[in-house]
């Protein structure tokens, strides 16, 4: 099937969603997502950040769709034409969604453990307004521990439902979900139960904001001060892929996460043993530094190859210092 997104044509299989067709093209025309997660069935359509305009339905029925549609849940038709960043209506709607999401998600990055990895931060930077017009009190919650390794801070939750889908599909049994409705909705465990099954840690990885955090890493460091390294091990759990990213500070592994693709989605889920209990370099077979997008704040001070810093004059001392720093970091 042929579909055109913002003027870029592409041939895709029947049943492909507009979002995935856009991801095949890549670049700026890929709609942002906050609730869709390709590895989890049934996600998407809720946050409404991926809305796009279908200006031509198909070759058979070229009428435009009357409303903006969620690109993550709308499959392409042959001859469909889609507008994403070329549609002012889409940009305006997305700006509105960002404003709505920020009503109950404070941009309190200096005190949030997700700083530097927050999808909402990126989204608001790219699509939001400088300030919100909402003047009423935000809802606030006490932090609660849902298990000994995971902390939930509902104040920051944007109700993307991803963690609920993880619990439904990845873990053996779900003990948490959404309580209440409307803007009173909240994630909670079933009558103070802990989330303690083998794969529960994956709820941390799928959370696009800082609502679910890893207590073994929480506030131990900022991500841009750490060094991400790809590693793997032979995990005893047959359902665990054993492929992870280790986040180093000096010689210490501060955190272990699943490996994520360019859209911030885990390539495969990992067990709690790998995530929480294997924090020595000797536990792992190191593959090498993780590629980090140059746009990400995590890329600060990380280099794959030696490129001397630009200086006005050639400075042998500085060049030596750069070499020495590079060697020190690549040892990790």
């Amino acid at each position: 099937m042929k579909v055109t997104i913002d003027g870029f044509p592409i041939e895709v299989e029947a049943g492909t969603t507009i979002l995935n067709a856009a991801r095949l093209i890549g670049g700026d025309i890929v709609p942002p997502t906050m609730c869709y997660y390709s590895k989890l069935e049934g996600t998407g359509g809720k946050c409404r950040t991926c809305l796009v305009q279908v200006s031509k339905g198909s070759e058979k029925d070229p009428r435009p769709m009357p409303k903006l549609v969620a690109s993550c849940r709308t499959t392409v038709m042959d001859g469909m034409e889609v507008k994403n960043i070329t549609s002012p209506e889409v940009i305006e709607a997305r700006k509105g969604v960002v404003e709505m999401l920020l009503i109950n998600h404070p941009l309190d990055c200096p005190v949030c453990d997700q700083a530097g990895e927050c999808h909402l931060q990126d989204l608001s930077y790219e699509h939001g307004a400088a300030k919100t017009r909402y003047e009423f009190d935000r809802r606030t919650f006490e932090r609660i521990d849902i298990g000994d390794k995971i902390q939930l801070h509902m104040t920051r939750c944007i109700l993307c439902y991803r963690c609920v889908f993880v619990a439904d599909q990845i873990t053996d049994h779900r003990v948490h979900g959404i309580l209440n409705r409307g803007d009173h909705s909240e994630i909670s465990t079933y009558i103070q139960k802990a989330v303690d099954n083998d794969f529960s840690g994956n709820v941390i990885d799928v959370c696009p904001v800082g609502a679910l955090t890893d207590k073994t890493f929480r506030f131990r460091n900022r991500v841009w001060f750490t060094k991400p390294v790809e590693a793997h091990r032979e995990c005893e759990n047959p359902k665990c892929c054993g492929k992870v990213t280790l986040w180093y500070k000096g010689e210490d592994v501060l955190r272990v996460t699943a490996r994520k693709d360019e859209y911030g989605e885990a390539e495969a889920f990992i067990c709690n043993t790998c995530r929480f209990y294997k924090k020595k370099t000797t536990d792992w077979i190191i593959e090498g530094p993780r590629k980090v997008s140059h746009k990400s704040v995590i890329s600060a001070n990380h280099y794959d190859t030696l490129k001397p810093l630009p200086v006005v004059k050639t400075n042998p001392v500085l060049i030596e210092a750069n070499k020495e720093q590079f060697e020190r970091e690549t040892r990790l």
Binding site: G44, G45, R48, A70, G96, V97, L159, N180, D183
Partner: protein
């Protein structure tokens, strides 16, 4: 005197019992359909009738039935949406209370047409009296051989169940209803797939409103062509209107579609005019989710033609000067009513009833309600009106289900038509706070009724 198709026998004593209903010609449609027609012929009659869904959207019922997928070996379901809970709408409750067998007869005929062997009537949980009435009526019909195995010896089997809902407004949205019926949280599903392809338990399903299903009975009795002769244009047949507000005779009325609104509002056969001799200020024509219209725009279209009680006429002018038939929840406001308070009240309802799945509805309905609350209580700002319009635009059309639109339209239309009243709340905070106001406080009573034709 207008004809009555649904409410003809409503005042007959004991019409809620099988025997009396049967003595008045009840269940003739079942006999006719099951013994003399094929399922496709029943669908064809409904198509010919031009019946449009009476729940609010107005989609052609026969066409909806013909969309039903019919894969071999897969069950099909008919679900009656009796979750009626739109503020201002109470017609389905009336039907279920006083003439339950009409609904059951319609369910049997419709289930036969769709090839469904199990059907459900999903009733809002608060309507416990109606649930008991329906259960009793189903038991009676089953005892007389109109439900269960081999109905009337025709070989057709149908089990009909009444399912109480949890009492959430969102469960009136067809996919949320199906989720609730499956025992899950009543959140709307993302469409497609539509229920006609994958509905209840993943099987092809048709969801119809109570009144739509009841209307199938006269359609089969008299023929689709006869039904289509009633009404005007694409608005065929009769329609139940639940009239409320400041009317002299509020109640449920059956009208021929195409009736002039003036006749409906002022004739003694229907609403009998505005209570206490006051003047009409505004009308919500189809339940709280449709745009409110000031009296002059409601009585006549923008082309100065008399407005009619039909889907097309009420919508004429779009949302600039028109509204919608919706579910037929007709609310009239006299000159003393406060539009700001009414709008806040509606916004409060939609804020409370938003399911919270999608961001614009979850956050936007609460935002609008809070701004309206401060306007109502004398803490508003002049910029609030523009803010409300903008927030409503951010919600409208961007949500999973129509609840977002339903929340946005009343707010946007109230500000469009009654902006000066909102501004008055800002400039007269004390009067707004103490509720010591009415239109008498304006220098010029009914200041907004002269709306420019553009």
């Amino acid at each position: 005197m207008a004809r009555k198709l649904l409410l003809e026998h409503i005042n007959v004593p004991g019409i809620n019992t099988f025997d009396v209903y049967r003595s008045k010609g009840g269940y003739a449609a079942v006999e006719k359909a099951l013994k003399t027609l094929t399922p496709d012929e029943v669908v064809e009659e409904v198509k010919k009738s031009g019946l449009r869904g009476r729940g609010g959207a107005g989609f052609p019922t026969g066409m909806k039935w013909s969309f039903l997928a019919k894969p071999a070996g897969v069950a099909r379901y008919l679900v009656c949406n009796a979750d009626e809970s739109e503020p201002g709408t109470f017609k389905d409750r009336y039907l279920m209370t006083y003439i339950p067998h009409l609904l059951i007869e319609g369910m049997i005929v419709a289930s036969f047409a769709l090839g469904a062997n199990t059907s459900y009537i999903y009733v809002r949980g608060e309507m416990m009296p109606q649930i008991r009435i329906l259960e009793k009526a189903i038991a009676e019909a089953k005892a007389k051989g109109f439900l269960g195995k081999n109905i009337l010896g025709t070989g057709y089997d149908l089990e009909l169940y009444v399912q109480p809902g949890g009492g959430a407004y969102i469960c009136g949205e067809e996919t949320a209803l199906l989720e609730s019926l499956e025992g899950k949280r009543g959140n709307p599903r993302i469409k497609p797939p539509f229920p006609a392809i994958a509905g209840l338990y993943g099987c092809p399903t048709v969801v119809n409103n109570v009144e739509s299903i009841a209307a199938v009975v006269p359609i089969i009795n008299d023929g689709g062509d006869e039904y289509a002769k009633i009404g005007i244009g694409r608005s065929t047949g009769t329609k139940l209107i639940s009239a409320g507000g400041n009317l002299r005779k509020p109640g449920v009325y059956e009208i021929d579609l195409g009736l002039p609104v003036e006749e409906f509002l002022y004739s003694d056969e229907y609403c009998g005019g505005i209570a206490n001799g006051k003047r009409l200020k505004a009308v919500v024509a189809g339940g709280s989710s449709v745009p409110i219209l000031p009296a002059n725009l409601f009585m006549k279209t923008i082309n100065n033609e008399p407005r009619l009680m039909s889907y097309e006429s009420l919508a004429e002018g779009g949302f600039v000067s028109g509204t919608m038939m919706g579910s037929g929840g007709f609310i009239a406001y006299d000159e003393d009513q406060c539009i700001v308070r009414n709008t806040w009240n509606f916004a409060r309802f939609y804020h409370h009833e938003s399911c919270g799945q999608c961001s614009p509805c979850r956050e936007g309905t609460g935002w609008m309600e809070k701004v309206l609350h401060r306007l109502e209580y004398g803490h508003g700002k002049m910029s609030d009106m523009d803010l409300l319009v903008d927030v409503s635009k951010k919600i409208e059309g961007n949500t999973i289900c129509p609840l977002g639109d339903a929340a946005a339209w009343p707010v946007a239309s109230a500000i469009r038509h009654f902006r000066d009243e909102f501004e008055w709340h800002v400039t007269h905070p004390h009067e707004a706070t103490t509720r010591n106001f009415g239109l008498a406080h304006y220098a010029d009573p009914l200041p907004k009724l002269e709306v420019a034709a553009s």
